[in-house]
Amino acid sequence: MSDNQRIELRFQLNGESVQVRVHPSDRLLDLLRYDLGLPGTKEGCGEGECGACTVLMDGVPANSCLIPAYQVRGRTILTIESTELADVEPLLAAGTTQCGACTPGVVMTARWIRDHPELLERFGSRQLMAGNLCRCTGYDGIIDGLLALVGQDEEA
């Protein structure tokens, strides 16, 4: 096996089966942005702190900057590009987004919570959103948007 190793793999991306060849050092974030033409997923810190690169991997949020691309073989990935208007209308109305850098990650985590409302029985909304840093909104807009998205009136 040489240093020019390429790994051929297939995975589900936003509802479609895709086949790609990746290098061992490629991150999922790079694969999405540069090889698959999906630049909606943002790179913030590149070290798993800010959550701007959040995608859903097999249904749960994960930082795509910390996932080797070869690990998505056979898995299911949803990125911000799979978002529909109905997913974000309550967020837009609540002032969830300002500069937009954190927004793709915020939306992906918020969609996960909306699809699993039972999470809010065990975890606080701010705890669930704690992996998505935002330097503009002061977070209240994000929490307001999340609560509107899940149809709750008050913060748990």
Binding site: S25, R27, E49, M57, P61, I67, Y70, R73, L128, L133
Partner: protein, 279 residues
């Protein structure tokens, strides 16, 4: 850089036997931090364990909780029974990074990464967990409290992989995990204190207080003997015999000692008679 992707544990062990320097990778939450900027420093080859579903198991035997090596923090959070029987596993899991890290990071990876500031290791150690190491030669068990010989120096041999973690099922009348850090999520522990008491005695485990997460035998004997403690300062002498905190970018040795003594004093004051006499 190259990667080997075994399709079974036995194949993984065979790869590890012939490539002892290969670095096992599971969730990648430690190994991929600043990955592109550090490619020069990265290992030449990785052993990708992520496809080995046979390691992604949580099961209970009569006296043991078994966590397969690929069990993530989130996997344990999704099992209410873990939280009922071993609540500190849930307490620690909820404080590792945030959701995006909890869904990827594994308990076994936390052990192998060997950070003195680990959050998964101290609660496992306080519960007297045992690490099951596997190799082509078979399996052996090592108590987690004997797993570290020094900073990032592990008991595991180059051809071994963690197969699972065994956590005894015991009744505890005192147990807490206190993580002191700048914020409640996405923070690295400045001082960590884990205490558990069962019929097997007291366990006091310190994190970010020494080159490794470690048991504190002097503090444990003090609790075992019921030595009267009237203020946090009374704990400093045994504490200093057990740990060796340093000044670093996150805190000072002085602050760490003070905080650890106070966390112990005020948490134990509610349950430990020796701490109650003068309060």
């Amino acid at each position: 850089m190259r990667v080997l992707m075994p399709e079974s544990v036995s194949e993984a062990l065979a790869f590890k036997a012939t490539n002892p320097d290969i670095v096992p990778i599971a969730g990648g939450t430690d190994l991929l931090v600043q990955w592109p900027g550090q490619l020069e420093r990265q290992a030449a080859s990785y052993l990708d364990l992520s496809g080995l579903d046979e390691l992604r198991t949580i099961r209970w035997t009569q006296d043991t909780l078994e966590l397969g090596a690929l069990t993530t923090y989130w996997d344990t959070l999704c099992q209410p029974r873990v939280g009922v029987e071993h609540p500190l596993l849930h307490d620690a899991a909820r404080q590792v990074g945030a959701i995006q890290i909890q869904t990827r990071g594994t308990w076994a990876g936390n052990i192998i990464n060997a950070s003195p500031a680990a959050d998964g290791v101290p609660v496992l150690m306080a519960y007297d967990a045992t690490v099951v190491l596997a190799s082509v030669d078979g399996e052996r068990q090592v108590p987690l409290s004997a797993f570290y010989h020094g900073y990032k120096q592990l008991e595991a041999r180059p051809h071994e992989l963690i197969r699972k973690i065994l956590v005894p099922r015991r009744e505890h009348d005192v147990q807490f995990f206190e993580k002191v850090a700048p914020r409640q999520a996405q923070a690295i522990t400045v001082v960590g204190v884990t205490v558990a008491h069962s019929s097997c005695g007291w366990r006091v485990v310190a994190s970010s207080m020494a080159p490794t997460v470690c048991r504190c035998p002097h503090l444990e004997s003090l609790l075992q003997e019921g030595t009267p403690v009237s203020c946090p300062e009374d704990l400093l002498e045994p504490l200093r015999a057990d740990v060796s905190p340093i000044d670093d970018l996150r805190s000072s040795a002085h602050y760490r000692e003070q905080v650890m003594s106070r966390v112990l004093y005020f948490n134990l004051g509610e349950t430990c008679p020796a701490f109650r006499s003068t309060r």
